[in-house]
Symmetry: C2
Subunit: 426 residues, 2 copies
C-alpha cells in the first residue's frame, strides 16, 4: 500500500518537474536570479512560520528520542534561516553556467561548431535531517536551470514542507518556474528505491547522507548518481617536510571541523622525520583532545605524556573515516610506502603531502589518485567555496562527469551546435 502511494506521488511530481524543466532550460539568468531573491525574501518575511514548523519537528524528534547531534542538525533558529536566505542571494550573484560556449571552432568544411552548456534536466535529491539542504539544493538546481525533486528526512517533514511552500509561492510570484521545485512528502524508504531507478524522469541523482545511503545508491542506482562524501583522508609528512608547517597543516586538517569528509583520518610520517616531528605534533593534537591510534613505531616515538589519548592501532583503524577527534598514525620508510598505503586504504577523496622535496611533490601529485591532491596545504581545501567554485552541491569521488567539489557548472551538460550554409560531408 505504502509503495503504491509513494509511487504515484513520486511519479506525479517527477512528471511535473520534467514539464517544468522545459520552461526552465530557456529561462533567463535575470528571471532565475529574481526567483532566488524572492525565495530569500520570503524566508525572512515568514520567519515565524518556518520556526513554528521546525518547533513541531523538534518536539516530535525529542519525543522519538533523537540524539542531541541529530536534534542539533534539525534545529532552525533566526540565524540559520537568515543564513539560508543569504545563501540563496549568493547563488543569485554567481555567474549563470547555462549558455556558456566552449570549444568553438570552424571546421575545414566551413561548419562552425561549439559546445554550449545546457541544464541536465531533472535532478533527484534524497537527504537527511538538515532543513537548510532544501533551499540549498533547490537554489543551485534553479540557478543551473534544473528542475529538482527533493525528498528530505522524515524528522524534518514539517520544516521542509513549510520551506518548500514558501519557495514555490515566491517563485510563482517572481514568474520563475515554481513547478521546478517538487517535494515528495512520502517518507517510505521505498520512495528512494524508486527514485534511483526512474531513468525516464531523472537525469542525475544526488544522495546527501551517510555512508550507508551513499553505498546503497552506488550499488543500486541506474539513474546516474553522484556518490561521494566518504573521505578516508591521509596526510603524508615526508622526510624533507618543514616540521612546523606539517604540524600546523595536520592540526588544522584534524581539529578545525572533525565531523566532515575532508578532515584528516590518517597521518603517515617518514621514519627519518618521525623522531623529531611526532612527539611535538602529537602533544599539540592531544592538547586539543585528539585520540591517536598508532602503529608500533609511532607509539614508541610519541612517548608517555598524552597517553590517555594514545593507543595502539587495530588494523581497522587504517582505511577508516572517523568523523571525530580520532585519527590513526603510521610510520613509513619511503614515499613509495606512503603512496602504497594510500592506494590500499584511501577512498579517492582528499590526499596531501607535506614536503620540501621537489621530486616527492611531483611524484605524489602525479601518482596519487584522489578528487583533490594537495602539497603543503590543509585537506580542508577540498571544498567548493575554498577552491573558487562559489557554491557546492556535493563532493564527488566519481570519476565520470565531475570529480571533487561540484558547483553550478557541474550541474550542467552540454550540447553541440553546428552552423552551416549547406554542407554535406562527402
Amino acid at each position: 500500500m505504502a509503495t503504491a502511494t509513494a509511487s504515484s506521488e513520486l511519479i506525479t511530481k517527477a512528471q511535473a518537474a520534467r514539464a517544468a524543466s522545459r520552461e526552465l532550460r530557456t529561462l533567463s539568468a535575470e528571471r532565475k536570479n529574481a526567483g532566488l531573491r524572492a525565495v530569500a525574501d520570503a524566508l525572512e518575511a515568514n520567519l515565524p512560520a518556518v520556526l513554528e514548523a521546525n518547533a513541531r519537528d523538534m518536539d516530535a524528534g525529542r519525543d522519538a528520542g533523537l540524539s542531541e547531534a541529530l536534534l542539533g542538525r534539525l534545529l532552525l533558529n533566526e540565524q540559520r534561516v537568515r543564513a539560508m536566505a543569504n545563501d540563496a542571494r549568493n547563488v543569485a550573484l554567481l555567474p549563470d553556467p547555462v549558455g556558456e560556449r566552449f570549444d568553438a571552432r570552424t571546421l575545414p568544411s566551413g561548419v562552425r561548431v561549439e559546445r554550449r552548456r545546457v541544464p541536465l534536466g531533472v535532478i533527484g535529491c534524497v537527504y537527511e535531517s538538515r532543513p537548510n539542504v532544501t533551499t540549498d539544493i533547490a537554489a543551485l538546481c534553479l540557478k543551473s536551470g534544473n528542475a529538482v525533486v527533493l525528498r528530505g528526512g522524515k524528522e524534518a517533514v514539517h520544516s521542509n514542507a513549510a520551506i518548500v511552500a514558501l519557495m514555490r509561492q515566491a517563485l510563482e510570484e517572481a514568474d520563475a518556474a515554481p513547478e521546478a521545485v517538487q517535494f515528495v512528502t512520502d517518507t517510505d524508504r521505498a520512495v528512494v528505491d524508486q527514485m534511483i531507478r526512474l531513468n525516464d524522469y531523472f537525469d542525475m541523482f544526488i544522495p546527501r547522507g551517510g555512508e550507508a545511503l551513499i553505498r546503497y545508491v552506488r550499488d543500486n542506482a541506474t539513474v546516474p548518481a553522484i556518490t561521494g562524501g566518504v573521505g578516508v583522508v591521509h596526510i603524508y609528512v615526508d622526510a624533507s617536510a618543514n616540521a612546523e608547517m606539517a604540524s600546523e597543516i595536520v592540526f588544522n586538517a584534524k581539529t578545525q571541523r572533525p565531523d566532515v569528509c575532508n578532515a584528516l583520518d590518517t597521518m603517515l610520517v617518514h621514519s627519518a622525520a618521525a623522531p623529531s616531528f611526532l612527539p611535538g605534533a602529537a602533544s599539540r593534537l592531544a592538547a586539543a583532545g585528539v585520540e591517536m591510534r598508532c602503529d608500533q613505531r609511532a607509539l614508541s616515538l610519541i612517548g608517555p605524556a598524552p597517553e590517555a589519548l594514545v593507543h595502539a592501532a587495530a588494523p581497522g583503524d587504517f582505511g577508516q573515516e572517523f568523523l571525530a577527534l580520532t585519527m590513526s598514525v603510521k610510520v613509513v620508510d619511503s614515499l613509495d610506502e606512503a603512496m602504497e598505503h594510500i592506494e590500499a586504504h584511501g577512498s579517492g577523496h582528499t590526499e596531501a603531502i607535506v614536503t620540501e622535496d621537489y621530486s616527492a611533490a611531483t611524484r605524489f601529485t602525479d601518482e596519487v589518485e584522489a578528487s583533490v591532491v594537495l602539497v603543503n596545504a590543509s585537506t580542508r581545501y577540498n571544498d567548493g567555496g575554498r577552491l573558487g567554485l562559489g557554491a557546492e552541491v556535493a563532493i564527488s569521488t566519481n570519476k565520470l562527469h565531475a570529480r571533487g567539489p561540484m558547483g553550478l557548472r557541474e550541474l550542467t551538460s552540454y550540447k553541440w551546435v553546428a552552423l552551416g550554409d549547406g554542407q554535406t560531408p562527402a
Copy 2:
C-alpha cells in the same frame, strides 16, 4: 555452471586490468604511441594468421545461418586489416589527453589550483560482430591511459582471439602495459550481466551494439554506462528554407549511409514550403530507392510518380530509427509544431533545421535538446572525426559526462591539484 566459470574469468581479467591501469596511468605518451605503432605493425605482419582465424568464424557463421548483413560485418580481408592498422597509427598521432591542465588559478590564499586530466581507470566494452572494434576500442583506451576489458560477439571469437593475442604481444615487446588489454572469451550472456554491475572493477561501461543491448544496459547497469547510439533523427525544412539546399541536405542525410545512427529518419516540412519543395525532393529520394512513409498532407503533395515507394505513414513510423532506405515525412504548420514533434519523438541524438530565418535558427538551436543540433548542415556531421575530435569511441546521448561524439578527452576524468606553502583555511 556457466555463470560460475564466466564469473571467475571475468573477475580475474578485471583484476589484471585494474592492476595494469596503475602502470598505464603514468605511462608516457611516447611509450603509448610506440605500443600503438607496434600493434599496427603486428596486424600487418601477421595478416595471414588474422585472415585464417576470420575464415574459421566465417565458416562457422555460414554453417549457423548468419544473415548476409551479419557476415558482411564479420568479414576481414586485407583491406580491412590494413585499415585497422592505420586507425591504430592515427590514434598514435592524436594529442594525448592525459595530463592536460585546465582551470588553473591562484586562490586568494595563495594556493595554486588546477584540474588535471587523468585516465578513468578500467573501461568495460561489450560489442557485437565487427572484429575491427577490438583494435579500435583498445587503441583509444590505451591512448587515453585506460585499461580495457573487451567482450566481443561469439560469431567473431576466433578473429578476436587472434587479434588480441597479437596486440598483447606487440604491447609487451613495446613495453607498453600489455595487461591493460584483456579479452573475455566466455560468450555466455551472464557475463554482460556481471560486467555492468562490477562497480569495484569498472569505471565506465561502453555497450556497442543494437538498441536491445543499449536499452538493457541503460536499465540495469550500476557501472556508469555510455548509452547512445540510437538516433531518431529529424530534419525540419522551414518555410524560409532554400529549397535546393534543403533537398541536398536531406538527400545526403538519408542516403549517404542509411544504416548508421546519424542518418535521417523523419523529415518535417513547413506547410508553406511543402507544395514547392516536397515533389522535387521526394522524386530525388525515390530515384535513390528511398521509401517514404507520409502523413496525409505530405502524401497528397508528393503525387503519384514514385508511388511504389510512397505510402501512408502508420503512427509508429514517427519516432522510429529505420537504419535503412526508409523515412517518414510530415507537414507541420509552424516551427513550434516541428519542435514539439521533435521533443515528443526524438531520441536526443541529432536534430537539424534548414532555414534562412535568423530567429528560427536561433530558437531551434536554443530550444531543441539533442547531442548535436545543426542549422543548414547534414546530420551526418554528428561524428567524432567530422566534428574535429580525431577519433570516436561512441556517440553519447547521455547528459552526464559526455554528450555527442566521444573522443579521447571524453575517456578521461580529472583530479584537482592544489599547491600551497603551508596554507590552512580559517
